[in-house]
């Protein structure tokens, strides 16, 4: 037991938590200043955030949102751990969800077959879409940042082309909305009914499984070790025997496969079809969530919940006379602060440890001298 507590360095833990807390606090301060600048009192707004955010229907809403954000966050985090910046999660999940919706609408299979089929199709599509960027990086040296941004645009164009009445889409009865063929009721994912509070999407179970798999693969497998090594120092990893090129492609594929899942909570638990109102930009939310959560499986979960909470509560601002655009301000400031705070804390931590090690060694040496003297 003593060993275990030793391992959890209190100071390290404190530093790890300090950065995100600092960022959120800074964001709230800035938000308060912005609200003050518009001539209103920020205190009622914060009070409302607390009371409205803790209402039971809000909690269900936040959890459902967080399910999606968590998957997006993990997809990005896989890349981050490897020093790859997968901005393409956005395109990957949209094209994956679109294809899954088309397949789910086309087949008439029992749910127990159809649902796994859709999940698999989405993961494969996302993985392939991301792999393009990986292959380009390895063979042609194209930065994944550039290629994935472009692939996002291409995904948008492909979906727009295919989502037309004479191709893979169909017009609804009112003749106003084009969508994929709706999923049969048997292909809906289960959800947990909470009465008035709403329904908790069952996909949260998949999100938890993904989180566990992420933790296990990175922390407990040889593959995960290689991946982290490449992320920390490509040259040292290559010298250690990791095949850096293979690792880049593999981790892009994994990141893309997880990204493929991002659209599924919405598709299988909510919309049951893909149309133009399908959520956009979740990939970018994922970047923010992964940053705030320090790429840690639990950290990302907390970050996803924070994001859902902010969205829910600021959505209510209009009702009580504030501007809902405040959301953008809070989120923007958090991301900015997080990036700065992590770097500051990281450097401080490294230096602090160096000093401590030096001091402890000096103390040891002094003790030894006393003994011999």
């Amino acid at each position: 037991m003593k060993k275990f507590t030793q391992r959890i360095d209190k100071e390290k833990l404190l530093l790890a938590i300090a950065a995100p807390v600092l960022a959120v606090v800074a964001a709230l301060v800035v938000t308060a200043l912005v609200i003050l600048a518009t001539g209103k009192n920020p205190m009622p707004a914060f009070n409302d955030m607390l009371s409205y955010g803790s209402a039971s229907d809000s909690q269900v809403y936040i959890l459902n949102k967080a399910t999606t954000y968590y998957l997006a966050g993990i997809a990005v985090a896989v890349g981050f751990r490897m020093n790859l910046f997968n901005i393409g999660v956005d395109g990957q999940y949209r094209i994956a969800a679109f294809l899954a919706a088309v397949i789910g609408g086309a087949v008439s299979l029992p749910g127990i077959v159809a649902i796994p089929l859709m999940i698999l199709a989405a993961m494969v599509t996302g993985a392939l879409w991301a792999a393009i960027a990986g292959v380009l990086k390895v063979t042609r040296g194209v930065s994944e940042v550039i290629s994935t941004i472009m692939l996002n645009a291409i995904a948008t164009a492909i979906i727009a082309y295919l989502l037309q009445p004479e191709r893979l889409g169909q017009l609804d009865q009112a003749g106003t909305l084009v969508s994929t063929k709706p999923l049969p009721h048997s292909s809906w994912f289960f959800s947990i009914d909470n009465g008035d509070a709403g329904q908790i999407w069952g996909f949260v179970v998949i999100a938890v499984l993904v989180g566990l798999a992420y933790w296990f693969v990175l922390g407990r497998t040889r593959f995960g070790f290689d991946l982290r090594a490449v992320g920390q120092s490509e040259s040292a990893a290559a010298a250690s025997g990791a095949n850096v090129k293979k690792m880049i492609i593999t981790s892009m594929i994994i990141s893309g496969a997880v990204a493929g899942l991002v659209g599924l909570p919405t598709l299988l638990n909510d919309s049951h079809q893909f149309d133009n109102s399908f959520p956009l930009g979740l990939g970018f939310t994922g970047i923010a969530v992964a940053l705030l959560g320090r790429n840690h499986p639990v950290g990302v979960a907390l970050a996803a919940l924070v994001w859902g909470y902010l969205e829910r509560t600021t959505g209510h601002f209009e009702v009580i006379g504030y501007d809902k655009e405040i959301l953008g301000v809070i989120q923007g400031v958090i991301v900015l602060c997080v990036v700065i705070a992590y770097e500051v804390v990281r450097r401080y931590g490294l230096k602090r440890q160096q000093q401590r090690v030096g001091a402890e060694l000096a103390a040891q040496a002094a003790k030894k001298q006393e003994v011999t003297a």
Partner: protein, 471 residues
Amino acid sequence: MKILYGMQKPDEGTITVDGEQAVFHSPADAIARGIGMVHQHFMLADNLTVLENVVLGGEKLYGIGAKARKKIKEISDAYGLGVRPDAMVEDLGVADRQRVEILKVLYRGARTLILDEPTAVLVPQEVEALFDNLRELKAEGLTVIFISHKLGEVLSVADDITVIRRGTTVGTADPKNTTTKQLAELMVGSELPSPETRESTVTDVPMLKVDELRLAATDPDGVVREVLSGVSFTIHKGEVLGIAGVEGNGQAELVEAIMGMRDPDGGVITLDATDISHAPTRKRREGGIGYIPEDRHRHGLLLEAPLWENRVLGHVTERPNSKGGLLDNKAARADTERIVREYDVRTPGIEVTAASLSGGNQQKLIVGREMSHNPKLLIAAHPTRGVDVGAQAQIWDQIRTARREGLAVLLISADLDELIGLSDTLRVMYRGRLVADADPATITPEELGSAMTGAAAGHLEHHDSTGGEDR
């Protein structure tokens, strides 16, 4: 050193320059006080001329034109540096580059020069020339702080010696009546270590055979050059093969080709009768190659990872680090404790990051890690560079012990005493070729030095540095 140059702030204590107390917040403050630093690794832009390199960042002093050129000429002549302002830095040799670095510092008005291990990259003849320059500077009233691990050099150039061990001053010495032995004892706190190994353990079982190895690489200008041409040698069990050479003559590439980090364009590498010419790095490591890299920060460690993860690095597929595809973190931790104990890695624990250890302790960890997998072949590139004398002696001991047990060692070093002392066979590398060989029992550093600059080739005999058969 970092404190003197304003790169780090002291916790306590004072610095006095010219009778005045000084506080440095940044290198700029130090420069303003007339303190200049010549780093171990040169900080020059290759694609600029000497003049451009010197004025870079100091444009305000004398402009960038004729006035600056005149000033450079003036300094160069005054101290006998012999620097040509219009030469491209990429065309200069290591010694010339060092003189440019010194000039850069003087140009900024330094009155106190800090030289960090300035002789590590020089051959003995160049070291002598550098010392002449330093004496010149001294005669002009400048102060020089010369930091070195090489005791002989310190004794020959210094007027006053301060010995620092583990962060504290352990003594001062007067070079006029101190011997290397006394100085070393002051540094280690005990007997002088020496790299000498005389009893031969060489067997006739070849362990590593490199045959006609060729490698071409693209240099920064996009020109494809052959960095290794026709390199052949054999290392037997129990043999240490030393490769001497001025850095940048293909040693790093040779190591990377043997480790599988570069794919050779021709030739065969055989390890213990298995052809590994194009095998991936991991296969080679599993096959029994231990690797002490030249640049431990780039190739040997994950600086921000804890020690036990660094123990796993490079041997992730081997026991005790993993079973099947899964890591065995518990066993890895336990084994790290063992390495820390057996190899005397000074650390408060195995959870601290590798970055927080001193260079010597980092190196001991690497040596311990590589030795823990019973290598057949050890590649040791500059194994004691930037390592304190105590750790140096330990590392030498470990290499010697392993050699006695039948390990084959490829030793690459810029420290000629280390090379001569540890090796059973010596080769000299120059411009990607093995140009000369020598018997470590009789050869002197000076003779080796002349072959390293390309002045001699073939078999080097004592007192006969140009003779011998060509090969």
